[in-house]
């Protein structure tokens, strides 16, 4: 079958009702982390152009604040948002209700407790200093158990599905649900429980970080794109028969691509070479995904402009291709010789986490929140501010990080330029990036206000669900129900 399951409206409402509270809890927690992480990310970026800012206290020194912000955005915002979206979509596509919601609340509590303790640990000086594994060891068990309590319901929902076919979004969700815990536990064991020696540690970390982006965040974003494009455009995915090939090829090549983060590092040269080759193999899935997505979008740009969800999904598609293609370019040995250790690498990872994944989650939330709560978005000004600020912010950050990366790559390569001069010439770019991060934060505050407004049970207009008739299935297929 070539389009998402279109079970009856009554069935969908039953599924949405079962998913309502778990999704709202996860998304609420996600947005709280998103705002906190955004503030800390902005502060950490301001330290780059104003080194004395917040430097008096050891808790907020740049070396602690920047990783803490990154961990909040990844494990606080990213995972909670992925849980909210993934569980809801899995239930919808499997045409079955989300069961045992109580366990999800327990999982949510422990996951967020783990993230909070982990971030506090980083700020208090218990950081491990391994990229994206900075959280101290004592939270690992908590996070894994909480993940198990949450992830198991995603998989269970899939295994009791009432549908004949399994849609592309489900492959990606199912894969991500398994890949993350394996990646995380293997990395924890090999780095901390039974640590490997010497440069094997950075190899493990590179493998984990690459896996986290390309086997967790990107698959979930792809699941959203595969679901919402046909759903909101009202037409099937173009050349859908190629999608399974893209899925397997993308996953297999991405899983092996981690070594390309170590070009030039003191590791055996086959490690980066394997990563480079695997990156180049991504050409095929990228072409297939382009045919799938852009082919489906073709002729539907009017609908994209008219639908908030589709605008975010469109931005996410652009972010996905930019992220993957930039990853391939930065993996080339000759390019990596000058772009390694610069802001180009920051941009590559940020594109995957924010411009692809986060933006897709926003698009998804604009679709599912009105359906779960039975209410409409209360402020179209706030939705407009969110999209506008996100679009401008993403563009600003892309320009800012790329500009900083160009300056760094160019000047680092020339040994006659003293290091202090490179730092000085980056100040303007860091300042520009602060504006970009500020814009993103502004948009997210707008979204948070709208979220509180729509999800708060004590709504100022009373039980809105009783007043607003459920939109017919036909209109749902073409536009989402925001005001």
């Amino acid at each position: 079958m070539n389009s998402p399951v279109s079970n009856s409206r009554a069935e969908q409402q039953e599924i949405d009702a079962s998913a309502k509270w778990p999704v709202l809890v996860f998304l609420g927690a996600a947005l709280a982390w998103l705002l906190l992480g955004g503030v800390m990310q902005l502060a950490a970026n301001m330290q780059l152009h104003n080194p004395a800012f917040l430097s008096g206290c050891v808790w907020t020194t740049h070396g602690r604040l920047a990783p803490a912000a990154e961990n909040i955005l990844v494990y606080g915002w990213g995972f909670n948002a992925a849980f909210a979206f993934g569980l809801w979509l899995m239930a919808r596509l499997s045409a079955t209700t989300l069961r045992h919601g109580g366990w999800l609340f327990v999982g949510a509590k422990f996951w967020n407790l783990g993230v909070a303790l982990g971030v506090a640990g980083i700020l208090a000086g218990y950081s491990t200093s391994f990229d994206l594994l900075e959280m101290p060891r004592f939270v690992v068990f908590l996070l894994l158990v909480a993940y198990a309590l949450i992830g198991v319901w995603g998989v269970t929902t899939f295994s009791i599905r009432n549908t004949e076919n399994v849609y592309a979004s489900q492959w990606y969700l199912f894969g991500a649900a398994f890949w993350f815990p394996w990646l995380y536990s293997v990395a924890q064991i090999m780095l901390f429980r039974a640590p490997v020696r010497g440069v094997l540690q950075p190899i493990v970390d590179a493998w984990y970080v690459n896996g986290l982006y390309s086997l967790w965040f990107l698959p979930i974003a792809l699941a959203a794109i595969y679901y919402f494009l046909p759903k909101l455009l009202g037409k099937p995915i173009k050349s859908y028969y190629l999608a399974p090939l893209a899925f397997w090829w993308f996953a297999a090549a991405s899983a092996l691509a981690g070594g390309s983060r170590l070009v030039g590092a003191p590791v055996p040269v086959w490690v980066p070479t394997l990563g480079i080759v695997a990156h180049m193999l991504l050409v095929l899935p990228v072409i297939i995904l382009a045919v799938n997505f852009l082919g489906t979008l073709k002729g539907g740009f009017g609908a994209v402009a008219g639908s908030l969800s589709l605008r975010f999904i469109g931005l996410s598609i652009a972010g996905f291709f930019t992220a993957v293609i930039l990853g391939m370019v930065l993996a080339v040995r000759g390019v990596a010789a000058s772009t390694a250790y610069t802001q180009w690498e920051t941009l590559r990872d940020w594109l995957a986490l924010y411009a692809t994944f986060s933006v897709a989650m926003f698009g998804a939330a604009y679709f599912y929140l009105p359906r779960l709560t039975g209410k409409v978005w209360r402020s179209s000004v706030l939705t407009g501010v969110h999209f506008g600020a996100t679009l401008l912010g993403v563009i600003a950050i892309v320009i800012g990080l790329a500009g900083a990366g160009c300056v760094q790559a160019h000047q680092l390569a020339d040994a006659s330029i003293p290091f202090a001069k490179i730092t000085d010439s980056l100040v303007a770019w860091h300042t520009f990036n602060s504006v970009g991060f500020g814009l993103l934060l502004l948009g997210n505050v707008a979204f948070f206000l709208n979220f509180v407004w729509i999800s708060c049970p004590i709504n100022s207009r009373g039980t809105a669900s009783a007043e607003i008739p459920a939109p017919s299935a036909l209109t749902l297929a073409t536009k989402e129900g925001h005001a």
């Binding site: 020696r197 996953a251 250790y341 610069t342 290091f419």
Partner: protein, 222 residues
């Protein structure tokens, strides 16, 4: 694709393959790398960290220095690491077996530190740098863009006591008020001991022969 089991096996197989192909293979190759005994000097290399430097590595880790500093020198011909004087040679995996926690770093917001103990063998410099990186010596600031780490020092009123012999000699205008001395805490001392220990000066004959291209490629052959 309809079969859940096939999907699961594929998903499992992909990650298992990358684990075996990348991590296990690398572990097989490097996991048992020993120290190298110099045939003439009979010394073991790399030299183990001193106890204080080992504590300093933990301070380096907890302050997140690796957020902005790398500890890896690329070979001649890749980037400008050698030309910048960040090392005498490219790094070998064996250099890192002395470190409990290997923090190669991935961002050069600040300069590389792998051989900083060789480049700047001066503890006093690091104390000044950590306390007041903006301090000017001979007209130029110690560092641009580095945050001060004043929390690694205690500021004490000298009053009638004898000044501490450890007090940092800061250039005028960058220290606290007259009559107050700046004394490094044990954490600062450990961190500086660690920074001073960072030097890969021993060149392993085994690695050198593997990494140096033949000087005169054979012409024609047979």
């Amino acid at each position: 694709m309809k079969n859940g089991l096939k999907l699961f096996l594929g998903v499992f197989g992909i990650l298992a393959l990358s684990w075996v192909g990348l991590l296990l293979a690398a572990h097989k190759q490097l996991g048992a790398l020993p120290q190298f005994k110099d045939p003439v000097e009979e010394t073991l290399n790399p030299v183990q960290l001193s106890g204080l430097a080992h504590q300093g590595a933990l301070v380096y880790q907890d302050l997140g220095c690796a957020t902005c500093h790398t500890q890896q020198v690329r070979f001649e011909g890749v980037g400008s690491d050698i030309a910048r004087g960040w090392g005498e040679r490219g790094g070998y995996p064996r250099d890192y077996i002395r470190d409990d926690v290997v923090l190669l770093g991935s961002s050069r917001i600040g300069p590389d530190l792998r051989n900083v103990g060789k480049r700047i063998p001066d503890a006093e410099y690091f104390y000044k740098l950590l306390y007041a990186p903006e301090a000017k010596i001979g007209g130029t600031a110690l560092a641009h863009g580095m945050p001060p780490h004043k929390f690694l020092f205690t500021e004490r009123v000298i009053a009638d006591r004898q000044p501490s012999y450890k007090a940092v000699k800061l250039p005028a205008g960058f220290g606290p008020a007259e009559g107050i001395e700046v004394v490094p805490t044990p954490r600062a001392e450990a961190l500086v001991a660690y920074l001073l220990s960072l030097k890969d000066t021993y060149d392993y004959p085994t690695e050198r022969s593997l990494n140096t291209p033949a000087a005169h490629p054979k012409e024609g052959g047979h």
